[in-house]
């Protein structure tokens, strides 16, 4: 019995494949998909390369500054050149500022080309100095806001938005066309169940779509980006494939369920488009509104006001340092390194201390922004159960390492590094200790610590599992309904 139904299934699959190729639907749809996947991948690769290049440029910039500073320091220590306070690397207050040319950078995750996510909006480097966090943590990458609004045509877009539409094109008339052509009656007169027929039809279409959507990007990425060849990355690719399979299966299951209602092809197409619009367009946009209402971000206006108050207070606190006499222009000798000491101009000391004080005061508020964003993210995780599009989009972004979580982690680590940077300089500035050549080579170093892979893979696999469960549920309902319904063939 089982082998017979299997052989019927394979018969249907072969027959269906032949028809779909002959009437050119399948080749056409596959071509469209291949084009879009290819273009999406191209866009993703271009963006990833751009960001790679930026990180490399920043690193180069940092090294060059380091070299220049070392050279200048030698000549300063040898007493060859007297410098203005701002550009003297022996002066710790100058080096703590932009003179050191330090950056915190976040490298692309190996699979970054698969989804652009938030990476076009969040900065992938911060310039580290003693400046207050409000002054440097909000520098964003330059991008035309219009383009940010339109969004990118990346692979994630093709998968989340376009793939379901192609499924709809292939699947809206699975049974209804047979009925409208009058062939469903004939088929039902054969020893063949409607669920088997439906399964066979879906298998052909799904395999054709997946044969393009999954291997094409993976092969290209594996060829172009050698860093994707590790075990961890291969596992991520596996989860990526599973996710896309589950998402495609879900939409085919929906198509099957719609077909099992026994309506006309036009009605089916309308229902499919309505469902697509609801899941992919309306729900995410509405959820975005809901998240903003339920868990609103703190007020940026308040942050600005608090910053002003904190700045004013710190100006008052270090008043005497700010208004001390300034004799370095007329007396450059004062700037020379004497023994291991250097006179740090009071105004520069005041800048350092004042910024530090501002941060101490507004830090709690800044933390509230980060906490709120994480809370919003948790809410999104829960709400994503309502729309497969959100679910898949979130998972695709975490696979590519372009989700908000990774950027929030980058921000956190940068803030910690910024504090460390200050702590390193604080005693030196207060005690007027001159920077030595050895100090210069042992400045605090930035290291990005990647989010633990276990955390990412957990968040990806539960989404994939959920997507699969959803697909099987809908699919099961469709098969059950199609086997029960007697009206289908009429």
């Amino acid at each position: 019995m089982k082998s017979r139904s299997l052989s019927t299934l394979s018969l249907i699959i072969r027959h269906e494949a032949r028809i779909l190729v002959r009437d050119r639907t399948l080749p056409l749809v596959c071509c469209v998909l291949a084009l879009m996947v290819g273009y999406g991948l191209f866009v993703g690769l271009a963006q990833a390369t751009l960001r790679d290049r930026m990180v490399a440029q920043v690193a180069k910039h940092e090294q060059e500054t380091q070299r220049a500073n070392t050279g200048t320091l030698q000549s300063v220590l040898a007493g060859k050149s007297a410098l203005v306070p701002f550009s003297n690397p022996a002066n710790p207050a100058a080096l703590a500022g932009t003179l050191a040319g330090r950056f915190a950078t976040i490298p692309n995750a190996p699979l970054a080309a698969l989804a652009i996510g938030q990476s076009d909006m969040m900065p992938n480097y911060y310039r580290i100095s003693y400046l207050s966090k409000v002054q440097f943590m909000y520098d964003t990458e330059i991008e035309n806001p219009w383009n940010l609004l339109s969004g990118h045509f990346d692979l994630a877009f093709v998968i989340v938005f376009v793939l379901p539409l192609l499924v709809t094109t292939l699947g809206y008339n699975l049974l209804s066309a047979e009925r409208e052509h009058g062939t469903l009656r004939m088929l039902c007169s054969q020893p063949l169940s409607v669920p088997t027929l439906l399964t066979g039809k879906i298998v052909v279409r799904m395999l054709a779509l997946l044969a393009i959507a999954i291997p094409l990007p993976l092969i290209v990425v594996l060829l172009i980006r050698p860093e994707t060849r590790g075990v961890e990355q291969l596992l991520l690719m596996l989860s990526w494939s599973a996710l896309i399979t589950a998402y495609t299966l879900f939409w085919f299951a929906v198509a099957a369920l719609v077909n099992a209602t026994g309506l006309s092809s036009s009605a089916n197409a309308l229902i499919m488009v309505a469902l697509w619009t609801t899941f992919v367009l309306i729900l995410p946009v509405t959820m975005n509104l809901v998240v903003g209402l339920v868990s609103p971000a703190p007020s940026r206006t308040e942050l600005a006001s608090r910053t002003r108050v904190a700045t004013a207070e710190s100006l008052r606190e270090f008043e005497s340092l700010y208004s001390a006499d300034y004799r370095y222009a007329s007396d450059p000798e004062a700037l020379l390194v004497k023994g291991e000491r250097i006179e740090v101009p009071s105004r520069m000391r005041a800048f350092f201390l004042a910024k530090q004080r501002v941060d101490e005061k507004i830090e709690p508020l800044l933390e509230r922004f980060d906490r709120q964003l994480l809370q919003q993210q948790r809410l999104v995780d829960r709400l994503s159960l309502l729309s497969p599009a959100i679910l898949v989009n979130e998972a695709l972004n975490s696979i590519a390492g372009t989700d908000s979580r990774r950027f929030v982690a980058f921000k956190d680590q940068t803030e910690a590094f910024h504090n460390k940077w200050r702590q390193y300089f604080s005693p030196r500035i207060l005690e007027s200790r001159a920077m030595t050549a050895q100090d210069l080579s042992s400045l605090p170093q930035w290291h990005w610590i990647e989010i633990p892979a276990s955390e990412t893979s957990w968040s990806i696999w539960w989404r994939t599992a959920l997507m699969l469960a959803l697909a099987f549920m809908v699919g099961g309902a469709a098969l059950a309904r199609s086997s029960r319904s007697n009206r289908i063939a009429v």
């Binding site: 866009v43 751009l50 930026m54 440029q57 910039h61 203005v84 909006m121 969040m122 409000v134 909000y138 520098d139 964003t140 330059i142 991008e143 035309n144 806001p145 383009n147 940010l148 609004l149 339109s150 990118h152 045509f153 938005f161 092809s265 036009s266 197409a269 309308l270 619009t277 367009l281 309306i282 995410p284 946009v285 509405t286 959820m287 975005n288 509104l289 971000a297 940026r300 206006t301 600005a304 006001s305 910053t307 002003r308 700045t311 004013a312 100006l315 008052r316 700010y322 208004s323 001390a324 006499d325 300034y326 004799r327 222009a329 007329s330 922004f369 919003q376 999104v380 599009a389 989700d403």
Partner: protein
């Protein structure tokens, strides 16, 4: 005759489930979007005007201080939300609203709302404009795809033609039915909200907003009208309802979903945006170049902060330095913003095949939430910053420079702070928006006429094939 046709079609549509469900959903979303948008805007505007008043107050009462340190504290200015931002937030989520005017550098507008939001923001913002641009055309397609082909399939077209109904009446009647269905959904909410909005505004701003609303109505009218006639044309041209539906949905997906993204990718290749690093480097380089030239000309010093320059010229030097930087700032930021505007103008040509792109630019422009108006605000904020800087430097020259090394012991008082005027920003008027966006409106009008012509052609061909 055309009224009878329209009435008959409307009755049919009203009895059909499609309009009821889809229309009901759109109506609910429209109301939710308006309520949420209005709530948000009132809150933001209150917060910002209060914040700005407090900020200026603090500036006035900052006590005795060295003017350069006062410029360090600086001033915050906030971008007011335009009244029609509720209708179309435009690029709002992706640009900031707060500028901290400080000494030395052009401050950028910071705090993009999208940075405080999750990745969901990238799916889009639920706004009335989004609904009208994306979902209402879909509604028109869904209720109208079989309006001609259905008649043919049911055999009623034969009877209709045998009565001697002219093609023009048929077209107008069908179009009127579709348009009224969309109108019934939008118009009451639209008119009600417009009245509410205008009534809440101060009398001086009302006229401008009324003009803006009328132009918006014209733009959206053309856009939705385009979809009405296109739907009718396709429905009359193709053989079956199914084919009409597939073609129209395909067009809708390509035009409203895929085209905007493809367009913005394409123009990025055409007019590349510089990276932050490259931009900053270029700017610093230009400023340094301009400054050294100015220093050489004024003081004969080779570098900035040259030891040969005594502190008794510090105020004067600051003034020269700033003035030299203004040119470089204008050039660099101007260049960047020109690139953005070029990118947008280039995209508007995509409007020829994807009308939503043309409409989006027009809608944002008239709502006051497009880039040109953001640029206007940024420029105004920068002008204010320069005003502060110039006043401060002038005062330093007068009072601090004579003190020599004790330059920084000088403290200015309330009279100096009061000489800096409060930041008053007037939103640009409707003519500013029209000057930037008349092209998009013209494009929409042309497209509308083309769709009418296509529908006319489709219906004047022999309908019984």
């Amino acid at each position: 005759m055309f009224a009878i046709i329209a009435a008959k079609d409307m009755r049919e549509l009203a009895r059909d489930g499609r309009l009821l469900w889809a229309g009901g959903l759109i109506l609910v979303l429209l109301l939710v979007a308006l309520a949420a948008g209005w709530n948000r805007q009132v809150q933001l505007n209150n917060e910002r005007s209060a914040g700005q008043a407090l900020d200026y107050d603090a500036w006035l009462h900052q006590g005795y201080r060295h003017p350069h340190d006062a410029a360090e504290q600086g001033m915050h200015v906030f971008k007011p939300e335009p009244p029609l931002g509720v209708f179309d937030p435009g690029i709002g989520p992706f640009v900031g609203s707060t500028v901290w005017l400080q000494a030395h550098r052009q401050s950028e507008v910071k705090f993009r709302p999208a940075q405080d939001a999750t990745g969901l923001q990238r799916f889009g913002e639920l706004s009335p404009a989004w609904l009208l641009q994306v979902l209402v055309p879909l509604l028109i397609i869904v209720i109208g795809f079989n309006s001609m082909s259905g008649e043919r399939e049911r055999g009623t077209l034969r009877q209709l033609l045998s009565l001697g109904v002219p093609a023009r009446s048929l077209l107008l009647g069908k179009a009127a039915a579709l348009a009224s269905c969309a109108g019934v959904l939008i118009a009451p909410v639209g008119v009600g909200f417009a009245a509410f909005l205008v009534a809440r505004l101060p009398a001086g701003e009302r006229l401008d907003v009324v003009y803006r609303i009328s132009w918006l109505a014209a733009g959206y009218g053309l856009y939705l009208g385009l979809f009405v006639f296109l739907t009718l044309a396709v429905s009359a041209l193709v053989r079956s309802s199914r084919a009409a539906l597939v073609i129209l949905l395909g067009f809708w997906v390509a035009a409203t979903l895929i085209a905007p993204r493809t367009a913005s990718e394409a123009v990025n290749l055409l007019y590349p945006t510089p990276s932050r690093l490259a931009f900053d480097d270029h700017l610093s380089h230009d400023i340094a170049g301009a400054a050294s030239k100015a220093w050489a000309a004024h003081f004969g010093a080779r570098t900035q902060w040259d030891p040969s320059l005594p502190l008794s010229k510090w105020g004067a030097a600051l003034k020269v330095d700033d003035a030299a930087g203004y040119g470089a700032l204008d050039e660099n930021f101007g260049g960047l913003w020109d690139t953005f505007e070029r990118q947008q103008r280039a995209q508007e040509w995509v409007g020829l095949v994807a009308p939503v792109v043309a409409l989006r630019g027009f809608s944002m422009g008239l709502a006051g939430t497009d880039f040109s108006q953001h640029r206007d605000f940024s420029t105004a904020a920068e002008t204010q910053r320069r005003k502060i800087q110039d006043i401060v430097s002038e005062d330093l020259i007068k009072h601090a420079d004579p003190l020599g090394n004790a330059h920084f012991t000088y403290k200015a008082g309330p009279e100096l702070w009061a000489s800096v005027p409060p930041f008053k920003y007037q939103l640009p008027s409707v003519s500013f928006a029209l000057a930037h966006h008349w092209g998009s409106l013209a494009l929409l009008a042309v497209l509308f006429c083309l769709s009418v012509a296509l529908a006319h052609y489709a219906l004047s061909r022999p309908l019984m094939r």
